[in-house]
Symmetry: C2
């Protein structure tokens, strides 16, 4: 039984901008249905188009690019509330793939109706653009991390980022949150080898800054982690939900 937008649990989270009843109703009409995918499913393929767009309701996934020689670069870690497929919506095809890491529940939208969104709901079109711009901002930060920070700092930065996002979404339980990715995922996100990722992780763990083991992330002191990450202080940004 698909969730009604009106009673969508995500909408109640304070990270997301409030919506008017009219906006909720429109989103409901825009929504085609729901889709549950198993862990490991590739939902969108780089280079291919898609007639569907998604908002993540539950579960975790990865967006990644594959290079001609087979290397993989993780673009982002996908969490509930994320809107997936904007690229295929406005251009012909996707610049990256999207794969479910855990079983996921996705809200499905029809790409062909996107135009009516732009025509009749400029506020929602604006939200869409906002999301794209926010994505650009985040990728800029990621770029700065990969380009300018050493391995340990980079890793601390990423774990801090994931922890902050998890907290916004109510995925945390005190200082811990589930984070069921593999070390190889982290390595491919940070541009490090698996071995070095493992050793860097061990050093952070020994330093007591952060611990990520058995799929559980533990951040005893977010401030200490932020210092290790050489990061600016936290700042919760509210964002639209599609």
């Amino acid at each position: 039984m698909p969730i009604q937008c009106e009673s969508c649990p995500l909408r109640r989270l304070p990270v997301f901008d409030p919506m008017t009843p009219e906006e909720v109703a429109f989103t409901q009409r825009f929504k085609v249905g729901e889709m549950v995918v198993d862990a490991g499913s590739v939902v969108m393929q780089e280079g291919l188009g898609s007639s569907q767009l998604f908002t993540v309701l539950e579960g975790l996934g990865l967006r990644y690019k594959t290079l001609p020689d087979g290397q993989r670069q993780i673009i982002s870690f996908v969490m509930p509330g994320d809107f997936i497929g904007l690229q295929s919506a406005v251009m012909e095809d996707m610049g990256h793939s999207f794969r479910a890491t855990t079983r996921m529940r996705l809200c499905v939208f029809d790409k062909r109706r996107l135009w009516t969104l732009f025509e009749s709901h400029p506020d929602r079109a604006f939200d869409l653009t906002w999301l794209a711009a926010d994505e650009e901002r985040f990728l800029g930060e990621t770029l700065a991390s990969l380009g300018q920070r050493p391995a340990a700092t980079r890793m601390a930065w990423l774990l801090l980022h994931l922890y902050r996002r998890g907290r916004e979404l109510g995925l945390t339980d005190g200082a811990t949150m589930p984070l069921p990715y593999r070390q190889q995922d982290m390595a491919d996100a940070l541009g490090l080898s698996l071995v070095h990722t493992n050793k860097t992780l061990a050093r952070l763990r020994e330093g007591g800054v952060v611990n990520w083991q058995d799929g559980i992330l533990t951040v005893p002191d977010a401030g200490a982690l932020a210092r290790a990450a050489n990061a600016d202080p936290s700042e919760v940004r509210h964002r639209p939900l599609i």
Copy 2:
């Protein structure tokens, strides 16, 4: 004397999508004026808002982020036709700074009128979203380069990218084009030290793959460069011009 959108030389380039006379007229109304900035001017500051948006008419610039410890990461090399300031348009502030490398001529738009664009010109709003999505795609590719490729490949990839863009814009003269950046800029874009950038550049030059000296980029064989960059074959993407 500011250029009239109707006779804007950029619009005539085949890379840019054709516009209807009505769209041209609207863009003209959206345009507030023009601005010429000297080489070295910082036009937009990371973290600050801006009431203005720009489209580059002439000249080259850089978008970059500065980390808390002073390191700099170049986000992109800015060329004519690029739309600058989308982030400050839809969010409060910019996630990066923008600085002119050469003297630049900029088309100036008023951020406060952006909303009318979304309200009354859904096609242009769509174009704006398209640009944001394209930026996201490009940053994803950049991320993959920084994360997964060794220095020489990375550098070849970037020079190839710049050459292709220059060619689309008619900046090339046969196998050469002006590229008046510093080696330090290239280093900060690729996440390499200045010294290593210099040596890598020298090796590419000796290999005859590409030459970039005295502000002039020379690509004797684009195919060979693409192979050195481990890049997919060229593919000109048409894009909207704001």
